[in-house]
């Protein structure tokens, strides 16, 4: 029974790593080594279907409405989207963990205020809040990262708080307090190491949400502005031409799917591994 469980989870992990590594390779190798320019088009080569050669240039995924190579754009788009998502996730996890630990450690009013902020944050649909803030601040790469990062902290705070409440009662925390360590030292040196593991798992499970969110904002045209490609921008732009060129929508969508499945499988696998370690 256990052996079978182990085997299946390893297959999951292998598939997850395969999907994520190939996505990362595509997003790094294509912008670096692919000879065609993702931003410069050729008006004589518009809407070439996948696997065609035009004027000596080979287009494995075809070209778009301005004759730009889709593979080059997909590579750069993946890099930009995944970069945005990773930086935003990092902001969320740092902010959420810090606030969650503070809420759990101090309790009382501090706790009540931070937890109500979590409730408020979670009550507004993310995409609506992000669209509102981006439209106020103006759409740009920097604003998008900040807004995505600042709106994602709530779930991390909730989990960090719960874990802090458990750890706070342990004897070594009492001991740290007895030898006169400051609260901040206790929180960051002695509680944080207990929380990093669960937060990393949560981060992996939260990445898919961010990937889809970033793509949705791009799709609606309020993300990074054209001609810079992101996964959402590519699908949004391709939508207008999908009658005659469905590959413009198909391949960026598959890339989103690969990233999301990879992160989900990896997260599930980490959760199961953590559970089997405990039991």
């Amino acid at each position: 029974m256990f052996g079978r469980f182990q085997l299946r989870s390893n297959e999951d992990a292998a598939l997850a790593i395969f999907l994520l590594v190939s996505a990362v390779v595509v997003s790094l190798a294509i912008p670096l080594f692919w000879p065609l320019d993702p931003l410069r088009g050729d008006i004589m080569a518009t809407f070439k279907p996948p696997m065609t050669t035009n004027a000596g240039d080979f287009h494995p995924l075809g070209t778009d409405q301005l004759g730009r190579d889709l593979l080059a754009r997909l590579g750069l788009g993946t890099l930009i989207s995944f970069g945005i998502v990773l930086v935003a996730a990092l902001i969320s996890v740092v902010l959420g963990t810090a606030l969650g630990m503070i809420a759990g450690y101090y309790g009382g009013w501090t706790d009540a205020i931070i937890m109500r902020l979590v409730d408020i944050q979670l009550a507004v649909p993310f995409i609506l809040l992000i669209l509102l803030l981006v439209s106020v601040l103006g759409p740009s790469l920097f604003n998008l990262i900040i807004v995505l990062g600042l709106t994602g902290w709530a779930i991390f705070a909730r989990v960090a708080r719960g874990r802090t409440l458990e750890v706070r009662e342990l004897e070594y925390i009492d001991a740290s307090r007895a030898i006169g360590l400051s609260d901040l030292t206790i929180i960051f040196r002695h509680i944080l190491p207990n929380i990093i593991g669960p937060q990393t798992v949560l981060l992996t499970l939260d990445l898919p949400r961010l990937i889809i969110l970033e793509a949705s904002v791009g799709f609606l045209g309020l993300g990074v502005q054209p001609p810079v490609p992101t996964l959402g921008n590519l699908i949004g732009e391709g939508r207008s031409y999908m009658l005659i060129a469905n590959w413009l929508v198909l391949y960026p969508g598959l890339m989103v799917g690969a990233l999301v499945i990879g992160c989900n499988l990896l997260g599930d696998w980490l959760v199961r591994r953590a559970k089997s370690k405990v039991s």
Binding site: R4, R116, L117, D119, I120, L122, A123, V124, P125, F126, I127, L128, L129, L131, L132, L133, S135, V136, L137, P208, I212, A215, S216, F219, L220, G221, L222, I235, R239, M242, L243, N246, V249, L250, G253, V256, G257, V260, I261, N264, L265
Partner: protein, 306 residues
């Protein structure tokens, strides 16, 4: 009694949350410093912006402005839409039915099918059917709503010509938006029901039921499902916020005349009173739904009622 106190404290929390959201949507407009310049077209003259600022009362102290905003909101007055020159609430309520039909139909089919698939997967754990259901739910969570929607349009509207690609009013026009919006929840609910049911099926009282010689399906439906539903119901409240978010994109793609499309158009046109109304409305739906979840929770779980 304990149940009542629990519900009362949740209700108070709900009011606090709504108050917080009102602060959020109000002060969001002041992030750039000047809401008047934000709302006016980029080519307006300084004199026009000044006149607009005076007319909207943006020259008053900010707390006075917030008080006025809050007093209006409590009475259902969100101000006039800048674009349509009509109360924002009227625009919202006109679109309410369309979004309600879309969101509820998506929630309904995905919940029913999700419960069925989750139960089958839990009972046939580690069998091929469990694996197949798991793959489906993994795929359902992987594709963005808008991509699934576009793929369905390509396949069912452009190639097969079975279903209309947009519009509102007939059942055929509801199918694709509802499927696109519900796909994610189908996956989420299936996974939750499966995990929760597997855990419940390991409990002692289930072993007792089995020892009594009850059939597997009777045990699942009559005994295990009720307890297994507790985490599922709790999470459905959480999902509601993202359901409204998903409806936003779905409505854009299928030209569905709902609140989501109203919101995106309002954001693109810098029609902020409408945006504020939509955000507050979405938060209110979320708070009320989660309160109902708490009510259902006390009913499902007698332990908090004692």
């Amino acid at each position: 009694m304990k149940g009542f106190r629990f519900l009362l404290s949740r209700a108070v929390q709900g009011v606090i949350v709504m108050f917080g959201v009102s602060l959020l949507v109000f002060f969001a407009l002041f992030l750039t410093g000047d809401p008047a310049a934000l709302m006016m077209a980029p080519d307006s003259t300084v004199a026009e912006i000044d006149a607009f600022r005076e007319a909207m009362g943006f020259n008053d102290p900010i707390l006075v402005q917030y008080g006025r905003f809050l007093a209006g909101v409590v009475q259902g007055d969100f101000g006039n839409s800048l674009r349509y020159q009509r109360p924002a609430l009227d625009l919202l309520s006109e679109r309410l039915t369309a979004t309600g039909v879309l969101a509820l139909s998506a929630l309904l089919w995905s919940s029913l099918l999700g419960f069925a698939l989750g139960a089958i997967a839990a009972v046939r754990k580690n069998k091929p059917i469990d694996f197949a259901i798991r793959v489906i739910s993994l795929l359902g969570q992987a594709v963005p709503v808008f991509w699934l929607a576009l793929m369905m349009i390509i396949l069912f509207s452009l190639n097969l010509r079975w279903l209309p690609s947009s519009g509102y009013g007939t059942f055929q026009q509801l199918i694709m938006p509802s499927v696109a919006l519900g796909a994610y929840y189908l996956s989420a609910i299936t996974r939750l029901v499966r995990a929760s049911l597997i855990e419940t099926l390991g409990e002692n009282y289930i072993r007792t039921a089995r020892a009594k010689g009850l059939t597997q399906w009777r045990i699942v439906v009559r005994h295990a499902m009720r307890n297994a539903m507790i985490p599922v119901v709790t999470l459905q409240g959480m999902y509601l916020a993202s359901l409204l978010g998903g409806a936003l994109v779905t409505e854009i793609i299928f030209a569905w005349p709902g609140i989501g499309r109203l919101a995106v158009e309002a954001i693109q046109n810098r029609d902020f009173p409408v945006v504020q109304a939509v955000v507050l409305f979405a938060a209110m739906v979320f708070v009320i739904a989660n309160f109902l979840v708490d009510v259902a929770y006390t009913w499902l779980n007698p332990r908090i009622r004692l």
